[in-house]
């Protein structure tokens, strides 16, 4: 996801990480860890203590949404997959150019089932930094990866 942010930054595409859960003090400390330990290079923002934003958008542990400048929701996924996000952003990035070229574009709805890579080695390696309890709980919660 960091690579996608870097790759499309020049095409007027923004990208952030929105930190959810835990107390405000923990939120900020863990948000710093995201940057300093896990190497998230995108701007990191922190949700309210009651998770108002996270809850309004569905409370999934690691979801991704894409918004147009107007606030229009153009993409939502209940799990983050870099291939899916890049595929979507490649499509959206050319919309302004198509409009500038004179195309009259109107939105329409698409439903699609994407497939994510279940290779969790790197994820679990990072999760191990949080201790065996974190790893055990995640494996039990998502035994299929």
């Amino acid at each position: 996801m960091n690579a996608i942010a870097d790759q499309y930054a020049g095409q007027n595409i923004g990208s952030i990480f929105l930190y959810t859960l835990t107390s405000m003090e923990q939120k900020f400390r863990h948000a710093y860890d995201l940057r300093d330990v896990l190497g998230v290079t995108r701007p990191i923002l922190v949700d309210a203590l009651d998770g108002a934003c996270h809850r309004a958008y569905g409370s999934m542990p690691n979801m991704t949404w894409i918004f147009a400048r107007s606030g229009l929701i153009v993409y939502k996924s209940d799990w983050t997959d870099a291939y899916s996000v890049e595929n979507a952003i490649q499509y959206f990035a050319q919309i302004p150019q198509r409009r500038k070229a004179g195309e009259r574009l109107a939105p329409f709805h698409v439903e699609r089932l994407d497939y994510r890579n279940q290779e969790r080695g790197q994820f679990y390696k990072a999760l191990e930094r949080n201790g065996p309890k974190a790893v055990e709980e995640f494996r039990k919660a998502f035994p299929m990866g």
């Binding site: 996801m1 095409q11 595409i13 900020f28 009651d50 929701i73 996000v85 919660a141």
Partner: protein, 71 residues
Amino acid sequence: MKKYMNDLLTRYNYDSFIPEKFEPWMNFASSPKTGTLAPDFPLWELDQAPTRLSEIWSQHDFTIVEFGSFT
């Protein structure tokens, strides 16, 4: 009201990542639809400066927002 808020904060900021605690919050199916205006919320930058989600999405043609935590 205070009791409700305390209860909400305790249940939302669960101490263990187990289905009994996080599944009740998961409501992606009833979350805002594509093609609609996104609900706006206050957020904070890492230096604790307040901002809003709308301030973020209004800065670029399109903005990717990944939600997650590191516990």
